[in-house]
């Protein structure tokens, strides 16, 4: 039986059901101090004074550290993947409520927590800006001067710029949009908004730094150990081989734990006190670390008399919060897909990343795509309704088919968009209008559909090592992080397939930069394709070396000796190793600076869609999702059972972002920073679901596979909004779709709008 395509349980299944799986959360070291963070209470202000005297005087407090103390060990204490804009602890200014200002260290975390309450800070408050569209005006400027990191060529022109909040502007022009709009039979224009929300992994951010003689070991719950490795070495001015980053299992990541989060802080603290330091955030503190971009998306389409979309103009404003994090990449990478999966000759895209005085925004399961699909699939549905066309038929007529160029100019290869659309239509029983119960009385029912797509990240590098031991067993070394998506198991299956082993016999070593080679990061659904390819190549390299060893041992060519026998024959006993190694670097052409176009913008495309049936209570506005169909193209899955749960897990996460999750702000303060007030989906919120992986193949992927972690998020929000429109004739244009929002829309439609709350 083939190892690829086998539905074996995750390799670490036993460790997880017995509570023995290793997480950074568990780690305690001799002499370790706990750090607790004192945070800014103002959204924007100059620091006048931080009074730590009372905290220092508390029994059991080891040390209180401020930004100035950090400055003494790290002269340029600013970090970030796109901009070096984020100080390890605030210096001079604070830019959002919850920004770290000081840290108390103590052997007992309760003592540190108590001492934090004794710190007092005074600020000269500055006016603050929270809205992404308002931030386009330079009236209130979050950062005095822009400091791009130099990693990305398209950010260089922003270096040293003052008087602006724009941290990246991406523009694409294709064809003649202005001319096409003029000659179009119909023009439609809408604006959609999405909210700030967040990942809330159940293992909150946690990191431990452990100083050694001339080195530093960082244990962290992080999705990008190689980046942390490079960035901490850069901050310290050390060679990379003096910094060691280790990552066990993650208790959830979802894009929160990418790049540097707590690692620079614990590293600096450990160097200051020369003892191991652990910082573990509370659930509340996660609301001040990293979030999902709120967005405003203005979208305009020109449609011909034949129902073909002839032009689309997209203006997207991304609310990046106080620090850029990876936001500029979201703006560009997601930006060029903003017209949606449609074949449109004339396109303009203007995508802006904006600094505001909110908690920073970065990557969250979809890297901006769910916000875009929310807008373009709501808009597409509205067009179909206006033109009195069936929403599926209208999409079918316009969809991007195999080999046709997407807006960027890159052709759609191995992109089963039409198949995903048709699968959804079939599973929804679309076209069978007589069968569908539209409800009666106060309860009205409707259904909707939506399809989205995403490019993968590039340029990017993945390196893997496969070690075959004297007994024939194999170990894989990569810096991929298994945070629940099942990458360990998938790599074991790939190696087992190549080396003719059982996947259970393959061991996967977790990231340890002293041992495991470079990987760009576990993000953007990239691991299975990029690292999966590297793992396959490394296994093939090991296989070639085993064959060479067999020849050296005088074994006849072309016979299939088990590896253990080859070693024994060659070395006279159970001894030796064969080390296979490989790098995978896909080809890529960055978009032209003027036109935003590139004919090779992504190594592969991800396709995902959803269909929803809803029941709307017209008296309360409550929406109940009665059926959710999720479909995706993940190529040929390595482990279909794990793949299907990725699809449904992503869809349920997006269901939360659609119906309930929102960070509430009042004067820059988050007023619902707890799971009591920020409602994520529970077991009672799960609708009946149907999850389907369409038959497909990614020819450049390992055994035909590609990534899937995000695809389930794409279509959920607009499918539900479209279904609500179908049910009760009102259009919700802002997330989340709460009962209140629906009731307000219904009352407005009835000509008796609800009054605003005082």
């Amino acid at each position: 039986m083939s190892e690829v395509g086998r539905e074996l349980p995750r390799l670490e299944a036993r460790a997880k059901v017995t509570g023995r799986a290793e997480y950074t959360h568990n780690l305690r070291l001799p002499g370790m101090l706990y750090g607790k963070v004192f945070r800014s209470t103002v959204p924007h202000g100059r620091i006048r004074r931080v009074d730590t005297a009372a905290a220092r005087a508390l029994d059991g407090v080891h040390r209180v550290v401020t930004g100035e103390d950090i400055h003494k060990v790290i002269p340029e204490p600013y970090y970030g993947p796109a901009f070096h804009d984020q100080p390890i602890l605030a210096l001079d200014k604070v830019h959002h409520v919850g920004e770290p200002v000081a840290v108390v260290l103590a052997a007992d975390p309760h003592v540190a927590e108590h001492a934090v309450q004794l710190i007092a800070a005074e600020y000269d408050e500055l006016p603050a800006v929270y809205d992404e569209v308002a931030a386009m005006q330079p009236d209130i400027v979050v950062h005095d001067v822009l400091k791009p990191a130099g990693t990305f060529a398209d950010l260089k022109h922003l270096k040293g710029r003052t008087g602006t909040n724009v941290a990246l502007d991406y523009h694409l022009r294709r064809g003649d949009p202005d001319g096409a709009f003029k000659s179009a039979a119909h023009v439609f224009e809408h604006t959609f908004k999405s909210q700030q929300c967040l990942h809330v992994p159940f293992e909150p951010f946690v990191a431990v730094a452990e100083p050694a003689d001339d080195a530093l070991v960082i244990h962290t719950s992080n999705q990008t150990p190689s980046f942390v490795h490079t960035e901490i070495a850069r901050l310290l001015g050390w060679p990379e081989n003096r910094v060691r980053v280790k990552v066990p299992f993650l208790g959830g990541g979802f894009g929160a734990k990418v790049y540097v989060k707590l690692e620079a802080l614990v590293a600096a603290l450990a160097l200051i006190v020369r003892r191991p330091v652990k910082i573990a955030l509370s659930m509340e503190e996660q609301f001040y670390m990293i979030t999902k971009h709120a967005t405003t998306f203005r979208i305009k389409s020109g449609v011909g008399a034949d129902g073909r979309i002839v032009a689309r103009a997209c203006e997207v404003f991304w609310n990046g919060g106080a620090y850029a994090d990876i936001g500029p990449r979201v703006t560009q990478k997601s930006g060029f897909t903003s017209p949606g999966p449609y074949d449109i000759d004339n396109v303009s895209i203007d995508s802006y990343e904006l600094y505001t005085n909110r908690t920073p925004a970065g990557a969250l399961r979809g890297f901006g795509i769910p916000q875009l699909v929310w807008a373009y699939e709501s808009h597409t549905d509205l067009i179909a309704r206006e033109l009195d066309l069936d929403p599926v038929a209208f999409r079918r007529n316009n969809i991007l088919r195999q080999d046709r160029p997407q807006a960027s100019g890159t052709a759609m290869k191995d992109a089963a968009i039409a198949e995903v659309l048709e699968t959804l239509a079939a599973r929804m029983g679309w076209g069978d209008n007589k069968e569908f119960d539209r409800g009666n009385g106060a309860i009205r029912r409707g259904r909707g559909i939506a399809v989205g797509f995403k490019a993968s990240i590039s340029p990017t590098t993945s390196v893997a090592i496969v070690n075959v031991s004297g007994d024939g067993s194999a170990v894989v070394y990569t810096s991929s992080v298994d945070m629940g998506q099942g990458s360990d198991t998938a790599y074991a299956q790939i190696v087992a397939e190549v080396l003719a082993l059982k996947a259970e016999a393959v061991r996967v070593v977790h990231p340890d930069t002293d041992v495991t080679p470079y990987d760009m990061g576990t993000l953007g659904s990239r691991s299975l394709f990029h690292m999966g390819n590297a793992v396959r190549l490394a296994a093939e390299d090991a296989l070639a070396k085993l064959r060479a060893l067999a020849a050296e041992a005088g074994l006849p060519e072309g016979t299939n000796y088990p590896p253990a026998e080859i070693f024994k024959k060659r070395f006279g006993m159970q001894a030796g190793n064969v080390i296979g190694a490989a790098s995978y670097v896909p080809s890529y052409k960055s978009p032209d600076a003027q036109t935003g176009l590139s004919d090779n913008v992504t190594p592969f495309w991800m396709i995902g869609g959803a269909g929803a049936e809803v029941a709307v209570d017209t008296e309360t506005g409550a929406v109940r999702v009665e059926k959710l169909v999720n479909a995706a193209d993940c190529g040929k899955p390595i482990n279909p059972a794990v793949a299907r749960t990725q699809l449904s897990g992503a869809a349920v996460m997006q269901l939360g972002f659609t119906l309930s999750e929102i960070m509430q702000l009042d004067g820059g303060q988050v007023t619902n920073a707890s799971l009591a007030d920020y409602k994520i989906p529970g077991i009672r919120d799960i609708p009946p679901m149907h999850n389907e992986l369409v038959a497909a193949e990614q020819h450049s992927g390992p055994f035909g596979a590609k990534g899937l972690g995000e695809s389930g998020t794409f279509g959920v929000s607009p499918a539900i909004a479209n279904a609500i429109h179908d049910a009760v004739g009102v259009r919700i244009t802002e997330l989340p779709i709460t009962a209140e929002a629906v009731l307000r829309a219904l009352r407005k439609q009835q000509g008796r709008p609800l009054e605003d709350a005082a």
Partner: protein, 156 residues
């Protein structure tokens, strides 16, 4: 801060004794015994990651003072395979793939144990009712429901 008090309790079948301050919770107490399967996450008794059985009743370890364990019997996830064999619930969670990151899994499993003890043949509604105090951000809920049903079938 405050004075420690000596408590004696049964931990996973063995009698133990330790001195602990009254402000510490059950999760911290268990960490002293190198038991990390009960995990404090939300800190408000809402997510169920810290679920522990005290005298066979599931409690939120983050809201349960350590000193309350005095004289009681505490069972953690680490005890379920004490005889070297996974419990039927644990095995069912593996067979149905009822977890992803695994951080909330011990809580779901312990709560499922209590459910099956009280309702050996639970309906879907019983399962949702008992597990409504456990959250899973990876959203393995459909597989968790299958796991509980499978465990019920196999213990029947």
């Amino acid at each position: 801060m405050t004075t420690a008090r000596t408590i004696t309790f049964t931990l996973n079948g063995q009698q133990v004794s330790t001195a602990i301050e009254p402000h510490r919770n059950l999760v911290e107490l268990l960490q002293r015994f190198d038991l990390f399967g009960a995990r404090e996450s939300c800190g408000q008794g809402l997510c169920g990651c810290c679920t522990v059985l005290v005298d066979d009743q599931a409690v939120s370890g983050c809201l349960y003072f350590a000193v309350w364990a005095d004289g009681k019997s505490v069972t953690t996830i680490e005890h379920l395979d004490a005889d070297g064999k996974l419990s039927p619930v644990q095995q069912a969670f593996i067979d149905t793939g009822a977890f992803q990151c695994g951080f909330c899994t011990p809580g779901f499993i312990l709560m499922s144990h209590q459910l099956l003890k009280e309702h050996p043949n639970p309906t879907d509604d019983d399962i949702r009712h008992y597990l409504s105090g456990n959250l899973c951000r990876c959203a393995a809920y459909p597989e968790i429901i299958e796991a509980v049903k499978l465990a019920a079938k196999q213990t029947a």
